[in-house]
């Protein structure tokens, strides 16, 4: 349900605040939220496609420039992913902002309606060890849930406080129908509460709770060619986005730069082979290894994923959409490199992993 109004002169109800979003083209759209509600939650609850990801002040996707009005941040913004310069320039995190007055915001809203967030129970139907300390985890949902390519959900074992966020690697149905089964790629983190538990033994048949979908990573023109850069299990949303676009566009072409440490860590051969079979020559995959021993038989690229991002890739960087997923440092490095190469900042769509210290 979209409640955006093109005419912000509409009268605001008592106890509510009017949120006016200014586009860079001078356009204005507005919606209403209750005074003292959290900005992001109030917007998303109304079905507004507000950029966001983690919703708990960690990822920074919902960063918003406050042009006018007042919000109360729930935590010191110095404890958020915003840089000092951004804080001083008036940026806030919408997920941490209580709305106190009418607001004028500078933020790029998406065009699509948000899918409803649901919490459903599920059973593990696949627990498969892959190379590189990765598990392919598939869950059969007790109630089917719709999601968009590039989105994620949180999962928790039944009875456990511990919950973690993972991106779906599945391609959403072309007709938008909900999925009855979803899959994730889980990397083992030494000492990690959830991943160590998951790796300890075969968890097939175990009950989980799944809450989602969240995030808005994959939004851009469908027919635009895409450059995707994935670090490790950051490949999961890339598989979903590329698979989705291949089935919805007849012309878009994709390059996936896939970085892992060494050849024995290339965990996604099966998934990539399936995607390649559907895509034909519209997809090329470029693996790059950061810690492959010198003198091994590996004939492909070596180095960090940024080393693969050169003019030699043969991409029109000024006209491509970029999708990046991986750990925070890797994503930020790739963003900087892509901007150097001429990619437009608002065509870069990123999903940053931050190891969870929360339950």
């Amino acid at each position: 349900m979209q409640v955006l109004e093109k005419n912000p002169a509409v009268e605001t109800r008592a106890g509510h605040c009017r949120i006016t979003v200014r586009g860079r083209d001078g356009s204005e759209t507005s919606f209403e939220v209750k005074r003292n509600d959290m900005l992001l939650k109030a917007a998303v609850d109304q079905g507004i496609d507000y950029p966001h990801n983690c919703r708990v002040g960690v990822c920074g996707t919902c960063k918003t420039r406050l042009v006018d009005g007042r919000v109360s941040p729930m935590v010191d913004l110095a404890l958020s992913p915003l840089s000092n310069e951004q804080i001083e320039a008036g940026f806030v995190l919408a997920c941490q902002a209580k709305v106190r007055t009418d607001l004028v915001l500078d933020v790029k809203l998406g065009n699509g309606a948000q899918l409803p967030v649901r919490t459903v129970s599920a059973l593990v139907t696949r627990w498969q060890r892959l190379p590189g300390d990765v598990i392919d985890l598939r869950l059969k949902l007790d109630d089917a849930v719709a999601f968009n390519a590039g989105q994620y959900c949180t999962i928790a074992e039944s009875g456990s406080f511990t919950r973690r966020s993972y991106s779906y690697y599945d391609v959403p149905a072309a007709d938008g129908s909900p999925a009855g089964e979803v899959g994730f790629l889980v990397k083992r983190l030494p000492g990690g509460r959830f991943s160590e538990w998951l790796f300890a033994e075969d968890r097939s048949g175990i009950k989980f709770w799944v809450e989602g979908p969240f995030g808005v990573m994959g939004v851009d023109d469908l027919d635009r060619d895409g450059l995707c850069v994935a670090g490790g299990t950051g490949l999961a949303p890339i598989l979903s986005i590329v698979g989705d676009r291949l089935q919805r566009s007849e012309t878009a072409r994709f390059t996936i730069v896939f970085g892992v440490r060494s050849e024995k860590d290339l965990f996604a051969d099966t998934h990539l082979a399936e995607l390649q079979a559907k895509a034909g020559d519209r997809l090329r995959v470029i693996p790059i290894l950061s810690h492959e021993p010198t003198g091994s038989s590996w004939a492909g690229l070596r180095g960090l994923v940024t080393a693969a991002l050169t003019p030699a890739l043969g991409i029109d960087y000024r006209d491509t959409a970029a999708f990046i997923c991986g750990n925070l440092g890797m994503v930020e490095a790739v963003e900087r490199r892509l901007i150097e190469l001429g990619v437009q900042a608002d065509r870069i769509h990123a999903d940053k992993f931050v190891p969870s210290g929360t339950p």
């Binding site: 003292n36 404890l79 000092n84 039944s158 709770w209 929360t358 339950p359």
Partner: protein, 378 residues
């Protein structure tokens, strides 16, 4: 007319503070007046019905004035106590013990709530007063872990203020203090790193905290000498600082959130008796505070359907006798599991009950220990 009384109810705290100061000034057995009056009020409160009334908001500034006065009067009280010690005012052991215990309990029930109230505020002056006021809870870093960590992770084991099912208050002390100090350091470091500063940069928040706390301790020493500093520090540490953790222990005890970061009203216990609401500045009216931590105490609306514990004083006292506390809280938790928890939270609760050995809450018998013969066979 009745509504106008709302404002003056909160004068009860400064009145008790004044009585305590007068008692200390009189010396002798009068030093017990403060504690006797406070415990008398709390005991009387135990016989009163829950109070779900909403405060009048027409002249809200009066509340803020009273709360500010309470913080300032609490400073005066502790400095006065130090000065009296410095002048060997307490001639007998009984008078010295009376003054110490009265200062300790009053510091917890009357001194701590306005500090907590004000460091949550958005206004510059009130927030500044609340931050400085943290001297009265003997921990200038209490705010940061409370506002960031506790409010974000309430009712999960990653909140250092949270006590899991089966935890005793004594174990809670040993867990919560190191976890809070570690978290304070982590958060302070994050702030100076973000701003590109060295740890010793004078603009860092910790420098300001250390400075005003140092000045406060120096003032206690100047007024009361080493003995004054020691006794005042002990009364603040064992009073507001430690007893606040007893409050935290009780207030979310064993409750479970499956949605950390997104508070729901059933994630806290409430104590809604009338005099406790007044003395504790509605902090026992706890759901509204977690729902919007910036909301001033007088705007909090008691949740008539929220989880409730018995009267506040009773809970604090029971906490020190774990078997009695467990006897009180188990039926409440069983009801919470059955009627308030979400299905996901109910499953976590089930595991938590088993972890605590409280199998009866899961309506199942405790697992039997293997017999000697069985062990021999194995």
């Amino acid at each position: 007319m009745t509504k106008n009384l709302d404002y003056f109810k909160y004068l009860l705290s400064p009145i008790i503070l004044s009585a305590h100061a007068y008692g200390m000034w009189m010396g002798g057995n009068f030093t017990w007046v403060g504690m006797a009056l406070l415990l008398g009020v709390l005991f009387f409160d135990g016989f009163l019905k829950a109070d779900y009334s909403i405060r009048d908001l027409a002249h809200a500034w009066i509340y803020d004035v009273i709360v500010s006065i309470t913080v300032l009067a609490s400073f005066v009280n502790i400095l006065f106590y130090a000065w009296l010690i410095g002048h060997d005012h307490f001639a007998t052991t009984a008078s010295g013990v009376g003054a110490f215990l009265s200062t300790l309990f009053i510091g917890f029930v009357i001194g701590a709530p306005p500090v907590h109230e004000l460091f949550h505020r958005e206004g510059l002056f009130l927030r500044w007063l609340g931050r400085i006021g943290q001297c009265l809870v003997f921990d200038p870093w209490r705010e940061i872990t409370h506002v960031v960590t506790h409010h974000m992770r309430v009712a999960t084991p990653d909140d250092p203020d949270y006590a899991r099912r089966g935890d005793t208050v004594y174990g809670h002390f040993f867990r919560t203090f190191p976890a809070q100090w570690k978290e304070s350091y982590h958060l302070e470091k994050m702030m100076w790193t973000k701003r590109g500063r060295k740890w010793y940069d004078p603009r860092n928040a910790w420098v300001f905290k250390a400075t005003y706390f140092g000045i406060f301790l120096a003032a206690l020493f100047a007024l009361g000498g080493f003995k004054g500093l020691l006794l005042c520090s002990a009364s603040l540490f064992f009073g507001p600082r430690m007893l606040l953790e007893v409050f935290n222990y009780c207030n979310h005890y064993g409750l479970i959130s499956a949605t950390p970061g997104r508070f729901q009203n059933h994630h806290t216990w409430n104590h809604i008796t009338p005099l406790v609401r007044i003395l504790a500045l509605e902090i026992t009216n706890h759901a509204g505070h977690h729902d919007d931590s910036y909301k001033p105490f007088y705007a909090l609306e008691p949740d008539p359907n929220g989880p409730q514990q018995p009267q506040f004083l009773l809970c604090v006292l029971l906490a020190f006798v774990p078997p009695l506390f467990f006897m009180m809280v188990k039926p409440l938790l069983k009801d919470w599991d059955k009627n308030r928890a979400t299905p996901q939270e109910r499953e976590i609760a089930r595991r938590e009950n088993a972890r605590a050995g409280w199998h009866e809450l899961n309506d199942e018998p405790a697992p039997r220990a293997p017999s000697r013969s069985a062990m021999a066979t194995a």
